[in-house]
């Protein structure tokens, strides 16, 4: 408001100046009229009086006769000497003209009655006509008579025109000067007031522009004024600044470091800038600088906002999911590319035009609103993974998964923003997955059915085979033991052959039974403290005694006689038996076998070593696989199931131990087993320290020698 008033002050200054000029002019006019002109008139009058007196003196001295001619002769040089003397007329007492000389034209005024007495001196009265030509009448009066009688009147016409001309000229000059002064003072005043009001006016304009929201305009206005900008256009330092806020490095410096101008210019280029010097000049400059700083900051903020906005815009568009927001009235206020892809509407068709309800089929919009406000989907105001559908521009219903949130401002509901995902693809994949799963399950079932049948068959066949073979062996064994009488040598050989073959068959059956139990996961492990030497090694060696003798193999046993370990003796007899049997089968005939058992503290190590051809590195990996049989050149005819080492490995692993093979081809083979001490976590039955006790219990095996 003050600025506006200051602006109107400009006119007042102008008026006052003009009034003052007028006053001076009036004063001048009065001075001319009252002082200069009377003075000049007095001067003229005096001149006229002198002329008149001179004429009167001439007239007085002349005799009456011949006066006229002599007067003419005397006055003639006077006329030529005094240019102001126009005419001379002598009048008698009756006012009749007795002599006349000079220009008659100016006589016209003499006829006029009204004369004003200009002054008196001695016996002369000087009169001047109140109007008409400036003619002075000098009367020669007798001073003694009363009323004074006019002896002789001499009318002397003195030209007073010069006086008039001077006065006119004076006033003309005054007028001209006045006009000139008026004009100059007008422009001067205007100029000065402009100097005052222009910055204010500019500030006002900027403020008004700011108020209108025309920040850009203000910034342009401000930036145009930065003197260093043009100079620094090619400066690499400025280029370094990139698109940082504003273009004035000083302002940028200020913005970054705060007010730090006392420490010199914040940018080397600011040395070229005269703006700094100006800034401390006056308040308007400071104000302008303030404006510039503000504008730069606003611009920086605006840029930041713009970048932020652009980033968000890009983010929204980059999001493959649809994002939409609507205001309280349900009008769409946000609509991203994902939503556009899904729904088919352009943003122009949607934004601030379509209500959000349009996109949902039936009363789904109300349901969504209800779900959003309810507690079920992530709390009131939040909707998480709500499965619904949406209708696109073509009218197709698309299944979607919707997440939404209510946005509040000052506790008031402002908008609802929703994120949705097309489930069509997902559903298609899902149904494919489900189909695949069903097929997989069917296949699985078929496989497990087959497996079950295989296990049933395995177990059935072996069980059913076992009885006749056991019966055959029993009878053959009875024959061999000569229970039914002594046998001839050949008979004995035959029976021996029958027994050997049946033993092999039984061994194979035992393997298949073990396999069937392993496959059905029914291999019970019953560990107990077992004396390795007595309960494992000795029975095995005794059981294989016949074969050992037959193959003339020397067996070296290095087992601590009182070493006890927690393991299943039955299963470990099978393990060791299998390993020694292999050593006998595949090792050198007349070779060596060494059985070593050692207590390593936390584990028990058992090793079965034999001299022989060894096992190639390639074969070692296959050894422990099911049904795996190695083709050895030396023992092409050895029968077997290819299950022995698989069963062995399984038993060892059920004791949480491990088994591996070491070999030097052509030299030796060693199978090594390590069983940990603690039996906790054993696969199979629980750890139990039971002993055979005093029950009369003997194994058939013990007698099977």
């Amino acid at each position: 408001m003050r600025f506006l008033r200051r602006l109107s002050f400009q006119n007042k200054i102008l008026l006052i100046t003009l009034a003052m000029v007028a006053l001076v002019v009036v004063t001048g006019a009065i001075a001319i009229d009252r002082v200069i002109l009377p003075a000049m008139e007095a001067d003229v009058t005096e001149g006229a009086w002198k002329i008149a007196r001179g004429v009167v003196d001439q007239v007085r001295e002349l005799p009456e006769e011949g006066r006229e001619a002599q007067l003419r002769a005397r006055l003639k040089p006077l006329f030529s000497l005094m240019p102001k003397l126009l005419h001379v007329e002598l009048l008698d007492r009756n006012d009749s003209s007795i002599f006349r000389m000079g220009d008659d034209e100016c006589r016209a005024g003499m006829e006029v009655d009204g004369f004003a007495i200009v002054g008196t001196m001695e016996n002369l009265v000087v009169k001047r006509p109140t109007s008409g030509n400036p003619v002075y009448q000098v009367l020669l009066q007798d001073p003694g008579s009363s009323p004074p009688e006019t002896e002789l009147a001499v009318r002397v016409g003195v030209c007073a025109r010069s006086l008039e001309q001077i006065s006119v000229q004076l006033f003309r000059v005054l007028f001209t000067v006045t006009l000139l002064v008026l004009a100059i003072s007008f422009f001067l005043t205007r100029g000065f007031t402009r100097m005052i009001t222009r910055p204010v006016d500019r500030l006002m304009r900027m403020t008004a522009a700011l108020a209108r929201g025309g920040l850009e305009e203000v910034v342009r206005e401000v930036e145009r004024e930065l003197p260093c900008r043009q100079k620094l256009q090619d400066d690499f330092l400025l280029r370094d600044l990139g698109d940082s806020p504003g273009l004035c490095p000083l302002l940028i410096g200020e913005q970054e470091k705060g007010a730090g101008r006392e420490n010199g210019p914040p940018h080397p280029s600011c040395g070229q800038c005269d703006f700094l010097g100006d800034a401390s000049g006056d308040e308007l400059s400071s104000l302008t600088l303030g404006f510039k700083v503000m504008a730069a900051r606003l611009r920086a903020y605006q840029k930041q906002l713009q970048r932020h906005y652009e980033f968000e815009e890009r983010l929204l568009d980059a999001c493959p999911d649809g994002i939409m927001a609507n205001d309280r009235e349900g009008r769409i206020i946000l609509y991203n590319k994902g939503a556009q892809r899904l729904l088919g509407y352009t943003p122009e068709e949607v934004l601030h035009k379509l209500p959000v309800q349009e996109f949902y089929p039936g009363r789904e919009a109300q349901n969504i609103k209800k779900a959003l406000l309810s507690d079920e989907y992530g709390g009131p105001g939040t909707l998480l993974d709500y499965t619904t559908s949406i209708v696109n521009k073509e009218g197709r219903t698309i299944p979607i998964r919707l997440s939404a949130a209510l946005l509040f401002k000052d506790g008031e509901e402002l908008a609802v923003v929703g994120y949705f995902q097309d489930l069509t693809e997902l559903r298609r994949h899902m149904s494919k997955l489900v189909e695949a799963n069903i097929r997989l399950n069917e296949a699985n079932e078929r496989i497990s059915r087959l497996n079950r049948r295989y296990l049933e068959m395995l177990s059935f066949v072996t069980h059913e085979l076992k009885s006749p073979i056991a019966n055959s062996y029993m009878s053959a064994n009875a024959l061999r033991q000569e229970i039914f009488g002594e046998l001839a040598r050949e008979q004995s050989l035959m029976v021996e052959a029958i027994c050997r073959n049946l033993e092999q068959s039984m061994e194979m059956i035992k393997h298949y039974l073990d396999l069937s139990r392993i496959e059905k996961d029914e291999l019970p492990v019953q560990p107990r403290p077992t004396c390795i030497m007595k309960e494992v090694v000795q029975p095995v060696i005794e059981g294989l005694g016949g074969t050992i003798v037959e193959r003339r193999v020397s067996i070296c046993v290095d087992v601590p006689p009182d070493l006890r370990w927690n393991l299943d003796p039955e299963l470990f007899r099978s393990v060791l038996g299998n390993l020694v049997n292999n050593a006998l089968k595949y090792g050198d005939e007349s070779g060596r076998i060494r059985i070593t058992v050692a207590d390593l503290g936390d584990r028990c190590r058992m090793e079965v070593w034999n001299s022989g051809p060894g096992i190639s590195e390639e074969d070692r990996g296959r050894l422990f696989r099911k049904f795996e049989r190695l083709h050895t050149s030396r023992q092409p005819s050895t029968r077997g199931t290819g299950l022995g080492l698989f069963i062995t490995k399984t038993i060892v692993e059920r004791h949480r131990g491990r088994i591996w093979v070491e070999s030097l081809e052509g030299e030796w083979t060693a199978f090594i087993i390590e069983v940990p001490r603690d039996c906790e976590g054993l696969i199979g039955l629980s750890c139990r320290n039971s002993s055979t006790g005093g029950v009369m219990h003997e194994k058939a095996q013990d007698h099977d020698r």
Binding site: H463, K466, S467, P468, I469, A470, N471, Y473, M474, S475, N477, A478, Q481, I483, F484, M506, K510, L513, R517, E522, P524, Q526, E570, L685, S690, T692, G693, V695, M696, H697, E698, K699, A700, Q701, D702, H703, D704
Partner: protein
């Protein structure tokens, strides 16, 4: 000296035939039955000194059940029984160990088929001596 009488119960006729022949050679009087039905009654008639039982006959554990039933009879609490089975001893008790099962199996000795004739004879003699002592 009176011959000891041994009764063999098994549903496998071949086993009955072979075992009977072997045991007769060892000098025992042998009677056979192919199921446990009627064995109690025939035992009263025949009065055997020892019973050899198969486990799996008509049912999975017919032999075991019969042995338990027999031992509950008055006067037969300590009757000597040898169990023979095609199943390995670890399997016959449905996953139980021999030691566990001994308490209720009510058999004195368990033998896995094929039974060694000498070992069978040895066990029979052991039980008969124990009974007479």
């Amino acid at each position: 000296m009176k011959k000891h009488k041994i009764m063999i119960v098994d549903d496998d006729p071949s086993f009955l035939e072979i075992t009977a022949a072997i045991l007769r050679r060892f000098g025992y009087d042998v009677t056979t039955a192919n199921s446990t039905a009627g064995v109690l009654r025939s035992m009263e008639v025949e009065k055997p000194d020892l019973l050899i039982l198969d486990i799996m006959m008509a049912t999975m554990d017919e032999g075991l059940e019969f042995a338990a039933k027999l031992r509950q009879k008055k006067g037969l609490e300590r009757f000597p029984i040898i169990i023979v089975s095609a199943q390995p001893d670890t399997e016959k008790g449905y996953g139980r160990s021999v030691e566990e099962d001994m308490d209720w199996i009510a058999a004195d000795i368990f033998m896995e088929k094929p039974v060694d004739p000498q070992a069978l004879n040895h066990n029979i003699q052991l039980l008969l001596e124990k009974r007479t002592s």
